[in-house]
Amino acid sequence: MSHVLAIARRDLAERTSVFIAAAVLAVLPFVLPAVPGVRAFSYTDVVTTVGAIVAIGFTLGLALVLGVTMIGRDLSEKRMSFYFSKPLSASAIWFGKLIAAIVTLVVCFVVLFFPSYLAGTTSWQRSWNLELPVAFAIVGGAALVLLLFGHVFGTMFRSKSPLVALDVALMAGAALAIAAIIRPLLEGFAGDLTTRVAFTLFAALMLILLACGAWQLAHGRADRRQNHYALSRFVWVSLAIVLVVAGLFTAWVVNVSPSDLKTVNVSQPEEGSWSFVFGQAKHRMDYHALFLYDLASGKSMRLHGIRSWFSSGLSRDGRTVAYLQLPDYRAMEGELYTVQPGTSGESVDTQIAVSRYSEFVLSDDGARLAVIDGNGLLTAYELASKKALASVRVPNTARTMRRLFFVSPELLRIYIQSPQFPTMKVAEHGVDIYEFDVRARSLAHTGQLRTDAKHLGLAVSADGKRALMVADRDSSATARIVDARTGQLIAEAPAEGLMHTTLLADGSIATLKKDASMQWTLNTGGKQIPVGKSTQLFFARELAGGRLVLNGASNLVVVDYVHGAVLRTDFDSAMTSFSYPQWYAADPRRSVADASQPLAVHQKGVLYAMQPLSGEKKEMFRF
């Protein structure tokens, strides 16, 4: 230790000119206000601002210079033998010089900063928002980085060895490796985790650099090239070890299965047994994962992306899923990927760039995809060839909701529903209906609907022929059944608000109504069917054969609306959280599910696949 201090003292004795320069510069902020042009500003403001700038600038510049010369100057002037011919260990030499450099930086900063800071305390705090300790930590950190990087780059480049090209290549490699380690975390919404990993990597790098000099001098001694080689070996091997560990960590983080999730969100599309399972992973801070989960078999497929809020992403034949892959969770744009759930196939990059808030739909057979963006630009793609078939601009304003579906692979129907928010002028509510012929590339305005109500909901029947428009006026709501293509009125009926009105497969309207004692009644085609007591009840699914699944907060009711009977009621379990997509999903069509398809149901932290008719529950996983 005493040797370390002896060397530190020795180096500091050589730095008197630096301290003198700092002392002289410390006077500058006090003298500057005398310069004409500067006089206009408040004296203390100038003093403290200039003083802070000079202090930081000088310290950071000095840090870089010291980094390069600390060992570098003795090496290039062949004066290292002065130390090596004495009983001084390589560590003593390195740490002695390092301490001297740090002390020099601290003293210079203090000498430059505090006189002007004390000259006008309040004005300084006014002009800078950071707290003093935080500011010092940042400046100190930057100075340390410059010092150590200056040393590393100085050693590598000043040795004039051709192997420096290898160092540069490894630097690029390390940068790529770090990006590869961080990226999967960002893709998984793990902002906090990423920050922590990045900070740990930075700290590890600083530790490596703090130690590198001791190793370098122990192995390179008085020879400049050998110093370079020893430094490179130490830095790259240590960094490789750190990156491998970090890589293994990221690999572990990314490797989740549905049972590793807590706070799970299971979203079941209206067709098929595949659900989207999304949740925060246990023990992985804020890392989230998305899966396609088959309620029938328990198989899961990991999707490295997000599902769109508005687009269900599942083709009607249940065989193709489309989802969005974002470069990181804050990105607004990404690329669409498709995957065939249940097969061993990998996700395919469609190379279609889509914004997070665009709507997209798959054709029923999953062969084609249509995207409509916020500006009304509609494009139809063929997935197999990844070709854009046709494009057209649909009349659109910023406040409209765009919904569309493939009537056939060659024909798209588009509903432009305005406004999206009910604060617009009442006179402007309505829906404009268009059809787009993909082959002919022609857009036709086929119909429109108008209403003066504040809230408007549109749903299309499963066969695409009829549409239901619900106009909600707060006190009352009316429902209109219209032609899905032309908007021509077919029938009108009272409704129970957007949340409790739906369109059945047979083209009729069904409503749910609650009385004062929380007893609910299902009203279909004139039939009134009591469906039990519940705090809340919503239309969840229509099953083939004239049955409805109604979902409450923690209960489930299956009703045969043709025969007007409640088939089963389940208390204590309910379908997993799902939004009510019928009013805003990109595809406005209702679906009819097969009665044998299981429902995703949760009870006491367990996900079950429940047969709607028999009520049989199979435990899938716990969360």
Partner: protein, 298 residues
Amino acid sequence: MNHAETPAIRIDGMTVRYGRRVAVDTASLTVPRGSVYALLGRNGAGKSSLVRCALGQQRATSGNTEVLGEDSWKHRTRLMERIGVVAEDADAPPEMRVQQLADFCASLYSRFDTKAFDARLDRFGIAKQTRFGDLSKGQKKQVSLALALATTPELIVLDDPTLGLDVVARKSLFDEVIAELADRGTTVFLTTHDLTGVEHIADRVAIMNDGRIVLEEELETLKARFRRIRFAAQPVALDAASFRTALVRNWGAGTEAIVSNYDDLAFERLRSNATIQSADVSAMSLEEIFIAVAGEKQ
């Protein structure tokens, strides 16, 4: 370990390569304790590389080096406590004053004889407040020597200590070394071009040529076996008497031969047997021997 038995320096098969250039080629030498060992060689022969590796300042490409019984690369830090080094290039920081240098060194070694150091500086006539960079080349060497000796080392290594010194400075440097030898029996290992100066004090010499040690022996034996023989006529019979000639060349009207395995009796026998009438044998100075061994090929 018996101190008297382990050599001060033992180099075994040292090779030093810089890329493709071989600076030291499988060099081996042994410096006995208490001896004065001179390593001679022309410029670029590889002496400095050998010394640097011996002192653990550089890593040899291959070979073993033991100094005072310990591996000089692995144990450099604790070995330097026992070794004094006077480098070829003065390497102390130029702004450092001589007094500061002394204080710095005193803080690093367990033994530092300040009185002896001051006395030496006095003898050299150097003021303690002078900055190292302001000293002449010779004075820098003198200060380095004073510092090296003040730590009472068991071995001192001097790399070309008289380079750049005038006659007076050279004498005073040797004076100090001799006094040290007499007082403490320190082992001395030096490289030099000053063959006349070293001729008087070296016990053993080694000659290095193109990275190889071409000769290593006691100085006395070396001088005993080299002779210059001048003939008025052709020296036809030399080979017959199995004399090894290092050099044969014309000299005036006759011939001059440098013999490297001279023996008085053998030569007398030759003279009485052969037809050569006149031959003049003279001993050679170390410088002349060196030129014969390491000089340019005639």
